[in-house]
């Protein structure tokens, strides 16, 4: 069983993401509604992949990413940024900080699961 941490400040968006990923089958979900909470979830329970929003209260998604990548423990953790920001500058910034994938919202529910599956298979 793999655990996916879904980080987004909108509970509805989190539910949408989890519903789209449920077809992966053998996965469990953990959730966080803020950047700080995301870091806490990572610290207290094992996570195999993170789906990360950028615009969030308190700690910005990019800062979560920076925190994750600056610590040995999380260095190879797949982090998929899922954001409404579709501009090149944001994409480049996220990839520079170590995002594994950069996906944009609105997302196609049927297209999200295969992307995530390929990363889980490698991880």
């Amino acid at each position: 069983m793999r655990t996916i941490l879904v980080v987004d400040d909108s509970p509805t968006m989190r539910r949408m993401i989890m519903a789209a990923l449920r077809e992966l089958g053998d996965v469990a979900f953990d959730q966080a509604g803020s950047g700080l909470e995301a870091i806490e979830r990572l610290a207290v329970s094992p996570v195999d992949l993170v789906v990360l929003d950028l615009n969030m209260p308190d700690v910005h998604g990019l800062e979560v990413l920076r925190f994750v990548r600056s610590h040995e423990r999380f260095r190879s953790l797949p982090v998929v940024v899922l954001t409404t920001r579709s501009d090149d500058q944001s994409r480049r910034a996220a990839l520079d900080e170590g995002a594994t994938r950069y996906l944009t919202k609105p997302f196609q529910p049927a297209a999200l699961a295969p992307e995530i599956r390929s990363l889980l298979d490698v991880a």
Binding site: T12, M13, L36
Partner: protein
């Protein structure tokens, strides 16, 4: 991108979540804009924009997901504009503020249209106006904008301040107990203002550092040490100097370099619980079952009383009493979860009133009383539209322009007040203006033009209200833009009645008009009087009862086809319930009359016997085949037999309509497009 067939059904499952989140974010947007306008008016510091930005951003994202293109477009434009305004110093010009208000209003209309399955409004012009407001911020700018506050900003430069450093070490054990970083943050916000929150890796785990500024003398709770929290006094700030240097985070700053923005947001998220109403309803049903069980226990006790088992009886009686108390507490507790302060609705009304006031060019002061009065979430949501109508009506038609007011010897500024008060199981909301009052002559004239039959003598306030509430009735030739007066009042009355509420009005020429809405606090459990009607048990909600009188059946006389009895200084019209519902009519020399209705227009419900007061659980009669007029629902009294609950408001309405019809027949009124029979 809008969702295609398969995706549409995928997103269908989230649509209610979407609307409910939209409501929250729209409320935030309105609150921040009003605060912004307030700060512009009194010169106080502008409120931080991050909350507004986040709400708009989330609205944009969610709207895109569910294919609400209209809302997506408007929230996108608004987000860009607000970001630009924030970068430019956070003080929009009045015209820009107007555009933002119009934008949020447009956004609301987009969401409302989506909810009704209608095409969204045309927002192209609106989006163009918003887009023209400020230079667009780049995404990089967006990230650099910090919402961290300084101590001075946070505490208002008045008192001396202490700064605490808190360390929170999260763990799976704490997390299992519900003690997580968000809960800790909520606790700290109760202590003071959160200046900073940062994660740091320590001994293979993570530590969160918080800096909290609190008023001198405020102490953290010693019990928090058991929840993974440690703290120390970081420093003390006397009255900050004029230059107000922000408190710098201390030297051992963590790995994340940029500013993790955190600030007190006014409403603490910790005190807000989002609960699915369906789940609450399940709990309420469970409480209902418990109520039924206790009724059974009571019946068993009564049966056991005949046997000689007094010791057992005592125990059972004690248990019964305890259960009764516990159930009442449980009922109240669950009911409280459903309750929200009516102030939430008032804030939305303030927003709507603002537009109406600007368009009317009048000076109107809004006064709210009793915002903390609580009311069922469902009731309050359904009351929003009717209240909006009343507020807009008061602004555009009730309150006079400044010149006219001065000419009448009034202050140029009119006052529109909204008052909420609770009494027992009812809540009362009064919308009152100090305007011109309703022009009765004009209403009468219009009513006659519409072919409504009216008595020759002066109309009472109640009759006047009935005319105003006729569907389609208007005193204006063209419904004006703001209030759409005339299409509103019937909607107001039917919305109030649908909630088992009552609408009343009082108007004084030249002095103003007050509309009073009385509503049940919640709808599910009622104290009711059980009565016997033709051998059937029926329940009458206790709040509806004004008085109970016993009369000789011989004293009931028929007058103009109405059964009436002498009552106080007048006569009381009577509804013979057994006859109405087709039950057997028991011949008796005496009967009881349950007096319901208003003091001015009471009505007596004739019943055979009183059984007693009971707490009943209301089950709505949803099946249209079973539903009948005058019945509000059904209840199980524990005997397994279903008793019907009388809908006194509907009975009053039926009686009123029958009277109207008879009156119309008598008067041989002119051809009527608005016969009372057409009312629903």
């Amino acid at each position: 991108m809008s969702p295609t067939g398969g995706e549409a059904s995928f997103f269908d499952q989230f649509i209610e979540d979407y609307y409910s989140e939209c409501d929250e974010h729209l409320a935030t947007a309105r609150r921040v804009l009003l605060a912004l306008e307030g700060s512009a008016a009194d010169g106080s510091p502008a409120p931080p924009m991050h909350e507004l930005l986040r709400s708009l951003h989330t609205l944009k994202g969610l709207s895109g997901m569910v294919g609400d293109a209209c809302a997506e477009q408007v929230s996108h434009a608004l987000e860009d504009a607000v970001r630009g305004i924030e970068l430019a110093g956070g003080r929009p010009a009045p015209a820009a503020l107007d555009a933002l208000f119009a934008g949020v209003d447009g956004l609301q209309r987009c969401v409302a249209a989506h909810r009704l399955g209608e095409a969204g409004p045309d927002v192209d012009a609106l989006v163009a106006t918003i887009a023209g407001l400020a230079p667009r911020a780049t995404p990089a700018d967006a990230r650099s904008a910090s919402d961290t506050r300084t101590v001075a900003e946070a505490l208002g430069r008045e008192e001396s301040t202490v700064v605490y450093r808190f360390e929170f070490v999260p763990s799976a054990e704490l997390s299992g107990r519900g003690v997580g970083v968000d809960a800790v943050r909520a606790r700290l916000r109760a202590v003071g203002t959160l200046l900073d929150a940062k994660p740091r890796v320590f001994a293979g785990g993570v530590v969160f550092d918080f800096l909290v500024a609190a008023r001198a003398g405020v102490q953290p709770d010693a019990a928090w040490a058991a929840d993974g929290l440690r703290w120390s006094l970081e420093g003390e700030l006397a009255r900050p100097a004029a230059d107000d240097a922000p408190v710098a985070p201390s030297a051992d700053a963590p790995a994340a370099p940029a500013s993790p923005p955190t600030a007190a947001t006014g409403v603490s998220g910790a005190s807000v619980v989002r609960v699915d109403l369906g789940r609450l309803d399940d709990v309420m049903r469970l409480v209902g079952d418990l109520v039924v069980s206790r009724s059974r226990l009571e019946d068993a006790l009564r049966g056991a009383a005949s046997a000689d088992q007094s010791a057992l009886l005592d125990v059972l009686a004690d248990t019964n009493a305890a259960m009764e108390r516990q159930l009442r507490q449980l009922r109240e507790g669950v009911m409280r979860i459903r309750l929200v302060p009516v102030g939430e609705v008032f804030e939305r009304l303030r927003f709507a009133a603002r537009d109406a006031i600007r368009e009317s060019g009048k000076q109107v002061r809004l006064v709210f009383h009793g915002q903390s009065t609580e009311i069922d979430k469902v009731v309050v949501d359904r009351m929003l539209e009717p209240l909006l109508h009343l507020v807009r009506n008061a602004v555009s038609h009730g309150i006079e322009g400044p010149t006219e007011r001065v000419a009448r010897g009034k202050a140029p500024e009119g006052t529109l007040s909204l008052r909420a008060t609770a009494s027992g199981d009812r809540i009362r909301i009064v919308v009152e203006d100090d305007g011109a009052g309703i022009d009765v002559d004009r209403v009468v004239q219009r009513a006659r033009e519409h072919g409504l039959a009216l008595p020759e003598e002066a109309l009472t306030d109640e009759q006047l209200l009935a005319v105003l509430c006729e569907p389609g009735f208007s005193t204006r030739d063209e419904a004006d833009r703001t209030s759409g007066r005339g299409v509103g009042m019937d909607v107001v009355r039917s919305a109030v009645r649908a909630l088992s509420g009552e609408l009343a009005m009082e108007t004084v020429d030249g002095r103003g008009t007050a509309f009073t809405i009385e509503l049940p606090l919640t709808l599910m459990i009622l104290d009711a009087l059980l009565v016997d009607v033709g051998g059937q048990q029926m329940a009458v909600p206790q709040p509806a009862l004004r008085e109970i009188v016993q009369v000789e059946t011989a004293s009931i006389v028929t007058f103009e086809n109405n059964a009436v009895v002498r009552y106080r200084d007048g006569v009381l019209p009577i509804v013979h319930l057994a006859r109405l519902f087709g039950f057997a009519e028991a011949p008796a020399s005496r009967c009881y009359l349950l007096v319901v209705g208003t003091e001015a227009a009471p009505m007596g419900l004739r019943v055979d016997r009183l059984i007693g007061l009971r707490e009943i659980v209301v089950h709505p009669v949803a099946d249209r085949l079973v539903a009948m007029p005058g019945v509000a629902g059904a209840t199980d009294l524990g005997s397994g037999r279903v008793s019907l609950i009388l809908d006194t408001a509907a009975l009053l309405r039926m009686a009123e309509e029958q009277r109207d019809e008879r009156a119309a027949a008598r008067l041989a009124a002119p051809p009527s497009r608005h016969s009372s029979g057409a009312r629903t």
